[in-house]
Amino acid sequence: MKTAGERIRRLREEREWSQIELAKKANINNSVLSRIEANKRPIEDELLVKFAEIFNVTVDYILCRTDSREKPHIITGTGDGSFSFDKDIPMKVREEIINYAEYLIKKYKEGN
């Protein structure tokens, strides 16, 4: 079974970075990174997000919830100055939004 630690190690090695290099980028001690890669230490939420940003993959990919590295991100705004995440966005709504956005992308590509 794959683990988050292994994923991070692999992503790091693909880039030919040392643990020290990655630790520096993530602003953590390299002993912490070494323990994370060895699955001896859980990854804190903020750090997880940082790794996702550094490697340009999704958090889901690092957590092995998906094998796809593609990075769809959809971010909502109820707007009018209110924060939209106080209400849950149902999965189905999210999918419909993605479908429509994909449809627009397709149409756009056909037009060019």
């Binding site: 939420d45 903020e46 997000v49 996702a52 940003e53 340009n56 999704t58 958090v59 889901d60 593609e70 990075k71 769809p72 991100h73 959809i74 971010i75 909502t76 705004g77 109820t78 707007g79 009018d80 100055g81 209110s82 924060f83 939209s84 995440f85 209400k87 849950d88 966005i89 149902p90 999965m91 189905k92 709504v93 999210r94 419909e96 939004i97 993605i98 429509y100 956005a101 994909e102 627009l104 992308i105 756009y108």
Partner: protein
């Protein structure tokens, strides 16, 4: 005024579309999949509500400039606070874009200090003015306190 937002979106290669959202709480969304143009969706029902449209549009642009991962997925977990943090970043981007601090100071100095006056001046919703001022207080506290001191005495209670 919204034209400026459209042209910024265009220069960023963002596709902008109006859409009947399947949820009443959503007025806008930003979507980006690797190697594809980003998409901003705006709710059809706000197409002609000029000020609200500007605020939502700017906030979605804010997401484009400040976030880089799936916030909606986070919003469905116990890690909501991360989503909220990035949501706030996007809103602050929008606030700085539509209601820059120097312009706000200028407006207050020229005698505009009621929410509806500022909303009209900046062509945004009153709620946006409120959120904007709150965020400026959080992030530029010293400035804002100086600004408050300039308000007429009858308001300084």
């Amino acid at each position: 005024m919204t034209a400026q937002l459209y042209s910024l979106a265009k220069s960023e290669g963002i596709i902008v579309g109006f859409y009947e959202f399947p949820s009443p709480v959503l007025l806008g969304a930003y979507y980006h999949r690797s190697n594809n143009p980003p998409v901003i969706l705006l709710h059809k029902k706000i197409e002609h509500r000029r000020r609200l449209l500007r605020c939502i549009f700017a906030e979605e642009l804010g997401h484009h400039f400040t976030a880089s991962f799936d916030l909606m997925a986070f919003a469905r977990t116990d890690k909501k606070y991360i989503a909220r943090k990035y949501e706030k970043l996007a809103i602050f981007w929008a606030v700085q874009y539509l209601m820059p601090l120097d312009k706000l100071i200028e407006a207050v100095n020229s005698g505009l200090f009621l929410t509806h006056e500022l909303a009209e001046y900046f062509n945004v919703t009153e709620r946006f003015v409120g959120t904007g001022i709150k965020l400026y207080f959080e992030k530029r506290r010293d400035y804002m306190i100086k600004l408050l001191k300039k308000l007429p005495e009858e308001l300084n209670c």
